[in-house]
């Protein structure tokens, strides 16, 4: 321990010649909760990397820039990191719109990007021809692939056949809804209801009434955290008999697990603090030690894995040469809190990290979110309501 600390101090003192990494994150604006979570993940990784000797015998430095969740702010910040702060590698990237906005300067400067977020398909198009673009987060179509796999499993084990869909009428809920319905039907499900709602309206009475008449096995809703409680309250009040309520909000309401109405509600996450694998447990312990709390945001461990794997690739490359580092990062095969990380081609980009198999379906059971699918990561089997 003392040796590690001494190494850290010596590295800090030898500040000149540090390897600089820029992190473009939404530290303010709409995406700031995610951005701050990622920042913590980077800070934890940075501390561990420098304690362990840094990279190439030098300290690793990280320069944070706030993209303000806005493309108009992201572009100047990105250019500043590359041309003024002269960072050698870029990490971060949460919003799809800001990521696409920086694709122009990224290609112009040939910037090395190890990107954690930005899952929308247009991002994949924008970076399809960028040879230094490593994407960690699953693309959006992998999310649905993971959900479909779970539902197929429920068809086998619980005889689930009929799906009712409720989706919010904004971009989050509406994007690709027709493809979703088509994919369910192609997989052999009956889509017995497809209804849109206005997020935050709290009025789910008519939708739940329709669902009651349609007698679904699975009630699948795509909305925001504010919709979760009004929806499950209405389902309870109308006594909708359904096998599973499955939601995919970007985040769940704080304290939802404590509400008895949340019991058995299911959802999707890339990671849970209760994930059973060893790397996840180690991350949770290290995070708690540094910040005194446990995060529920999966962008914290994602950023942590992002910086750790990049640093390891730089060390293996033996230099900061972008081609050499890209070649080494491409060879990554390492256990992480999300499962094993490797880079393989996606539909359009060369280096895609996590895919459908890394998503976890969980259920609120007791006061916790418990992984129930895929079976290799499950701690319990699905509690079916019918």
């Amino acid at each position: 321990m003392n040796k590690m600390l001494l190494t850290g101090v010596l590295l800090a003192l030898s500040g000149a010649g540090a390897v600089k990494v820029g992190a473009l994150l939404p530290l303010s604006g709409a995406g700031s909760v995610t951005g701050q979570a990622a920042r913590n993940g980077y800070l934890l990784a940075l501390e561990e990397i420098n304690k362990a000797g840094g990279v190439l015998g030098k300290p690793l430095e990280i320069e944070f820039a706030d993209d303000g969740s806005s493309p108009a702010k992201a572009v100047p910040e990105f250019v500043k990191l590359v041309t003024v702060d002269k960072v050698e590698f870029m990490v971060g990237g949460v919003s799809s719109a800001t990521s696409i906005a920086v694709s122009g300067p990224a290609k112009q400067y040939g910037t090395f990007m190890a990107w954690i977020g930005a899952a929308a398909v247009p991002v994949e198009d924008a970076f399809a021809d960028h040879k230094y673009f490593f994407h960690y987060h699953p693309w959006s179509y992998y999310n649905f692939e993971a959900i479909l796999d779970y539902f197929k499993h429920l068809r086998v084990t619980k005889k689930a056949r009929n799906i009712a869909i409720a989706y919010e009428d904004g971009p989050f809920g509406s994007a690709g809804i027709n493809d979703t319905v088509a994919a369910f039907k192609k997989a052999g499900f009956n889509v017995v209801m497809t209804e849109k709602f206005k997020t935050g309206s709290g009025n789910f009475g008519p939708i739940v009434s329709k669902a009651k008449a349609a007698r679904p096995d699975i009630f699948y809703w795509v909305g925001y955290d504010t919709d979760a409680l009004p929806l499950v309250t209405e389902i309870k009040q109308q006594n909708l008999q359904v096998g599973l309520i499955y939601g995919t909000p970007p985040s769940w309401p704080v304290g939802f697990e404590k509400n008895r109405l949340a019991e058995n509600v299911a959802g999707l996450s890339l990671w849970l603090p209760s994930s059973p694998n060893a790397q996840s447990r180690a991350f949770v312990n290290a995070y708690r030690k540094k910040f005194g709390t446990v995060t529920e945001e999966y962008f914290a461990p994602l950023a942590y894995v992002n910086l750790k794997t990049l640093a390891a690739a730089i060390n293996r490359a033996g230099s900061t040469d972008k081609d050499k580092v890209a070649a080494e990062l491409a060879k990554t095969n390492t256990p992480t809190p999300f499962g094993t990380l490797t880079f393989t081609p996606s539909n359009k980009t060369r280096y895609q990290g996590f895919k459908a198999g890394n998503w976890l379906s969980f259920q609120y059971l007791g006061d916790d979110r418990v992984p129930v699918f895929p079976l290799k990561s499950a701690k319990k089997t699905t509690v079916w309501g019918k």
Binding site: S28, F64, P76, V84, D125
Partner: protein, 326 residues
Amino acid sequence: MEGRALDGSRAVVRRPDVPLRSLLPLGLFFLLALAFPFLPLGERAEYLMQIAFFTLVAGVLALSWDILARSGQVSLAHAAFYGLGAYGFALLGKVMPWFLAMPAAALLAGLISLVLGAVTMRLSGMYFAIATLAFTEVVRTIIQNLPEGAAGGANGLLVPALLGGNARAQYFLAFGILLLTALVSLAIRRSRLHHAFAAIRQGEETARVLGVSVVKYKLLAFFISSVLAALGGVLYAGKTFFINPLETFSLANSIAPLTTSIFGGLYTTLGPILGATVLRVAEEVLHNAIKNGYLVVYGLVLMLSILWLPRGLMGLLRRGKRGGDV
């Protein structure tokens, strides 16, 4: 503009004078902006060029909003025209060259503005603002619900880079559009439109008595303002390569030009441009000086400025001077 005086004689309204010296600060601004890419800014040059580009776009938006406000119409539909410009450019750019798609998108937004103008003609004040806000939401919803193959749906769509992504060329294009906006604003200021807009703003009934065709001038203000706002949207789309309904039609794009114009100085040409420049520079300086919480300081500065400078930055410049309303 001519009308009948109370005794029945023809009243002739003279064109307003704009003293040349009052144009000096505006001329100086544009000279500096023109020279900006050639300044020896060292390693910060490219970064500052990006900041400057978005400042020019903010200036176009604010000044175009101000032109409409001069006719007494406090609109919250600017995001709609900005977004229509962006979407028009992205879609028309698929079937025609960019230099044609750009004015065509602006014209399209202008024509749509006439519909909104006609519908909201009898509304004023808060009711007008609410109607324009609803209009933005209607446009956003329509774009979002068009087939994905047509306008990208809720996912949004990629936009080809303006001028091949050349940052300097993009800057000069934005400079040109701001200059055009300023020239239009000055032309209005120097024409009888200035009196017509001012009369409508101060009271439509009085304006009618004075012989001002309220309907015609209100629609004209809407058209001019929307065309220019749409050009701002084109610049944004061509710079950020991507547009989606949620962000492009965001309320922030309607509020920002309003606050910028108030901060700079309403009903002037230089005020909104100056407001955009000072606010963007202040935000960037604060951002670099105070990494965490800079938005709090920025908000406080904005609040205090509006409290202590009711006529905006132009109030400071005009203190003790006459005839300098440019």
